[in-house]
Symmetry: C2
């Protein structure tokens, strides 16, 4: 089960060398679909790059692999630092591999940049999974990219699917914008919590609880076992009061990633969900909604970029924003003025 | 305390007659600021109109009154039909008037259109308040307008403030988009709930619980009194588990609008909040954030309108959307194509 050591070529910082040895996008796409991990890593590096020529190549790769995507359960996992996400994913992934699946883990990492250090970090964090040929672990650097992360992550999911991974885990720290992206990118979202008050103090983002499909109280072992069960009951009650309709309520379970407790039950739940969502057409419907969401998001984003790139428009929008913030114009009036000038000058 | 009977001129459907008798916007603005209810009603009708000439006049009125706005506590109230919103607002408003305030109620009403029937309905719904000179009740028809409602409501709040109302209540049914608008329009959002399971089945929207600043369990009287107290305790616990940081948690109280129970405590809480938010600068900061939110929203909206109004762009966006929904293009690729063509043709 030992695998090739050159998992992340082109990530050493020498992008020029990387560029030179890179095959044509069409070739790269075929290699990915043949299960070539080196090719997958290279494509992921292209996807993350901010260089226009890399982005263009990434686009060509994606176009080729697109018809061969979608055949995976996309699971999002969020939770505050210390909730035990890595250990949990390590267990979950290892069990999935044991059941015959191929598992890719994409970890959105606000602290990582394009260097080896962070990757070694991820390998250490998921020690069992990292040793398996059927698993693939990759950080998505989010530190410098802002809104671009969602795009990278979405494309990374597609690339992993084309490479034959049928269980994909997207991990995010539940304190920033990440979990909203991940919610719109995955089929099912798991919130990992720890029993006791410590968790609440770590600033988990308002709103996550209502996005989660499955809430796991981790560390249900040793001294915390009873506290975890109690927390689970409380969450179940809380959800009853917060949930909209009975059938939309999230499920609550206790697990111990450390002691490998209830991981099989989590998998059972995930597989049931996946099977049913496929059979009823809900999975396809959800993914279509997500695709449309991202299309609209990126159209709007493009508009903001367009304004930014045109000095006169940028200046106008900036002045109007100041007027709005200063209470000199209503937001609507200011927006109207922008659009009058925009339309007057453009059409 | 009896007031003029002609509260809603121009709402009879004869818009042409309305137009003819209407003073210049600058005059109307002065009349509003002098506390003329007829002028206020007329301006609100302008704000609601879809006719370009009315919108333009509304804009001129708003520009004049804008420096005289902001001096009110803006309270949002949401809850499913049957939660007792009208009775509660009737009590709340009446008590506020008793304490020397002037109260305006703007009820976002999905079922109402520009006719007298709905208004009479509101008057009947808030029978005590409707009789007071210091109160003003007005429905905001939302049925036909979609996204425009937020604009009307925001402008209506400003007009009421300019007319000297210092306690403004925006009411919305908690089942649609309304409560999200109202959250971004008000200083404090009250969610009115009823004890027992009935409430959950009425489809209250996922997400409201996390927007609410104050959760009131209404109908804490008679047989339901004990059940209401129990529900309040459960909500308090639920919030502890859902809330982000301790100091951001919503407060939970029981009330009986019918028996006028705890309405004074609600007012005490609202006034404390208002005083503190003003003193700490949090109120101003929140309103600036809201203003910027609406500016960005309306810039984006304007962009969508711009695309809609240009046949070639509209067709391109429509075709790309179909490609995205059909899985032929990724959302990002499709958005890129749109912006390449847009930029190519425009700059």
């Amino acid at each position: 089960m030992k695998k090739s050591r050159h998992l992340h070529p082109g990530l050493s910082g020498k992008t020029s060398g990387f560029r030179k040895t890179l095959p044509e996008p069409e070739v790269l796409a075929r290699q990915i679909m043949a299960g070539d991990r080196l090719a997958l890593s290279r494509a992921l590096t292209l996807v993350e790059s901010r260089k226009p020529e890399h982005r263009q190549m990434a686009g060509r790769v994606i176009r080729h692999i697109l018809p061969h995507t979608g055949n995976s359960l996309r699971t999002g996992i969020t939770g505050v630092p210390g909730a035990g996400k890595s250990t949990f994913i390590d267990r979950l992934g290892t069990e999935w591999v044991r059941q015959g699946h191929r598992v890719a883990v994409l970890a959105i990492d606000p602290s990582s940049s394009l260097n080896r250090g962070s990757i070694l970090g991820d390998k250490t964090r998921m020690e069992h999974l990292a040793r398996l040929d059927e698993a693939f672990i990759r950080p998505i650097p989010s530190g410098d990219f802002g809104g671009g992360v969602a795009r990278h992550t979405r494309e990374a999911v597609l690339l992993c699917e084309a490479a034959g991974f049928d269980r994909i885990v997207v991990e995010t720290v539940g304190t920033g914008q990440g979990e909203t992206y991940v919610w719109h990118l995955t089929d099912i979202l798991i919130l990992l919590k720890i029993p006791g008050a410590g968790d609440e103090l770590q600033g988990i983002k308002r709103g996550i609880m209502e996005m989660a499909d499955l809430i796991l109280i981790n560390k249900a072992d040793g001294e915390l076992a009873e506290q975890a069960e109690q927390a689970a009951r409380m969450f179940q009650t809380a959800l009853h009061y917060f949930g909209s309709r009975p059938n939309e309520q999230a499920k609550v379970m206790t697990v111990s990633a450390l002691q490998n407790k209830n991981i099989d039950k989590v998998i059972e739940h995930l597989e049931d969900f996946y099977g049913q969502a496929q059979a009823t057409g809900q999975l396809e419907a959800k993914r279509r909604r997500q695709a449309e969401y991202w299309f609209d998001e990126h159209l709007d984003e493009g508009f903001r970029q367009y304004v930014k790139n045109h000095p006169a428009l940028r200046q106008l929008a900036g002045q109007l924003r100041l007027d709005v913030l200063g209470g000199k114009k209503t937001p609507h009036e200011a927006a109207d003025i922008f659009w009058e000038k925009f339309t007057g000058g453009k059409s």
